[in-house]
Subunit: 119 residues, 2 copies
């Protein structure tokens, strides 16, 4: 039953941390070097690099080393599977509501037609 | 910098597991008892209950006990913060692209106007 999607696992897990979400928000405004990114966070660099590694493994960011500077940039396309999954859930839910609407509409029709057929 | 949002942490972390996503997909189609839900999963009941507890703590599902049967239902409103967060990221990204478009448009105008002013 459970369709296993490693990529969604990694993306959602990566998004489940406030530091990682803040990094993504910063990178949505434009690329940045690791040291510029790390600046505002009160965190040891190895821990910060661990967060970047999880974002990169999930495909949410890309990094590139030029000389001694590592630059990070957002990969906005990586959010697409999340939106797709959310849309799928909504479609299933909406279909259920539609069935419920039909059910209620039919009940009301039967109720309205019922007494009239007895006239 | 990192705006701490416990609720988003819990929601994203809850979504980062294939069993929990499959439970949500099943519940999008309508409420179900714990035993009906657990049926298709090859998993010990305590582990399965652990997944349900995480979904409930994140607000994604609600459970209700009637007699000896515990029913689970989706709480579709709990997905709203996820969509809001995704939309915010997209807005920041789009604003960045708009600024880049303006920059390129201005460059092209300057390039076009440049030689003409020398005529």
């Amino acid at each position: 039953m459970a369709k296993y999607d490693t990529s969604l696992d990694q993306i959602f897990t990566a998004l489940g941390d406030p530091t990682r979400r803040a990094i993504l928000t910063r990178l949505a405004a434009g690329p940045a070097s690791v040291s510029d990114l790390a600046g505002p966070f009160d965190m040891a660099l190895p821990s910060f690099m661990g967060h970047l590694a999880k974002l990169e493994a999930a495909g949410l960011i890309e990094t590139e080393k030029t000389g001694r500077v590592r630059s990070c940039m957002l990969n906005p396309a990586a959010f697409a599977p999340v939106r797709t999954w959310l849309d799928e859930q909504r479609d299933i839910w909406d279909a259920r509501l539609d069935r419920f609407d039909d059910y209620v509409t039919n009940l009301m029709k039967e109720h309205r037609n019922g007494p009239r057929s007895q006239d």
